[in-house]
């Protein structure tokens, strides 16, 4: 059967135990309701199809299955991954500090050009917050990675984060393709469309009504 999509991206969720990775995968969108049979077994990965500027993009999103508890995620897990969500918990200082360790782990194990994004999860728990949004932003600037605060519980910014990461991977791939086959083999319209205003990740607020 003919291929029915334009791109396939393998994405991973990485971060300390308890920051909400599994919850993010479980509740990618609203209307979540937990059916116990599936949640007791646990989700390994999901396949999602999204439309990015007219291209059909398949996302295969993986959870770590608890490997992170041992602080070592093996090269096998990273293999083939094109995008990584680095997740910390805004109510847990340690999980934020460990983002740097996770980045090092990625540098040692994943492909060098893997696209990354930092998520400060559980931003609905403002009263228990230990990590300010500004510190999250600073870290992101330091590593030149995009950042957004999310709430898996309220489905806040989760979908947005996946679209942003996917869009960045796509842009990178198209740039590579262009470099390897230049001289306008493709029409210029696509490049122009990619110049649309960048997603407002720095501004996107984690607000709770």
């Amino acid at each position: 059967m003919a291929k029915t999509y334009d791109y396939l991206f393998k994405l991973l969720l990485i971060g300390d135990s308890g920051v909400g990775k599994t919850s993010i995968l479980f509740r990618f969108s609203e209307d979540a309701f937990n059916i116990s049979f599936i949640s007791t077994i646990g989700i390994d990965f999901k396949i999602r199809t999204i439309d990015l500027d007219g291209k059909k993009v398949k996302l295969q999103i993986w959870d770590t299955a608890g490997q992170e508890r041992f602080r070592t995620i093996t090269t096998a897990y990273y293999r083939g991954s094109m995008g990584i969500m680095l997740v910390y918990d805004v109510t847990n200082e340690k999980s934020f500090e460990n983002i740097k360790n996770w980045i090092r782990n990625i540098e040692e194990n994943a492909s060098a050009d893997v696209e990354k994004m930092i998520l400060g999860n559980k931003c609905d728990l403002d009263a228990k917050r230990q990590v300010s949004k500004e510190r999250g932003e600073q870290l992101a600037v330091e590593y030149q990675i995009k950042f957004v605060e999310t709430s898996a519980k309220d489905s806040l910014n989760v979908e947005y984060a996946f679209y942003t990461l996917a869009r960045d991977i796509k842009a990178k791939m198209e740039k590579k393709q262009e470099a390897s086959n230049p001289a306008g083999a493709r029409s210029g319209t696509h490049q122009l469309r990619d110049e649309r205003p960048k997603p407002t990740s720095w501004l996107a607020r984690c607000s709770v009504l």
Binding site: F28, A32, F33, I38, G42, I43
Partner: protein, 127 residues
């Protein structure tokens, strides 16, 4: 041999509304939230027996997995054919398929040996 043929004919008749030229005539969606699982004509109709755990487990019967026999499936060879779907961790060489949006399931299963997926017609909506 003739026995299986009879079963097959019956089932094809029963699913006539949904099956055309051996595949799903309509879009396959989640029964609960409407999330799109398969595009039209991407799942091949097959008849085979498989026990699938119920989507709603009766919690009063603790420790006892309730399942039912299902015979009609859409066979999906390549997992990337799916529009939106969840795969559970592996249990006895199978993964269960669930709705990617509301996590309802199992709506089918994935065989680790063959790497093929099977979606139960009775567990999804056709639209």
């Amino acid at each position: 041999m003739s026995d299986t043929e009879i079963v097959q004919n019956k089932s094809e008749e029963a699913s006539n509304d949904f099956v055309e030229d051996g595949s799903n005539k309509l879009v396959v969606k989640c029964k609960f939230c409407g999330s799109k699982i398969l595009e039209k004509k991407t799942g091949k109709f097959v008849v085979q027996e498989m026990n699938l755990p119920l989507m709603h487990q009766d919690t009063r019967k603790e420790g006892e997995l309730q399942s039912e026999k299902i015979t009609e499936f859409y066979h999906v060879e390549n997992m990337y054919t799916f529009e939106n779907i969840g795969f559970t961790l592996t249990v006895d060489n199978y993964k269960y398929l669930s709705c990617a949006d509301c996590d309802a399931g199992p709506v089918g299963y994935y065989d680790m040996n063959t790497k093929h997926s099977y979606v139960a017609l009775s567990r999804v909506e056709h639209a």
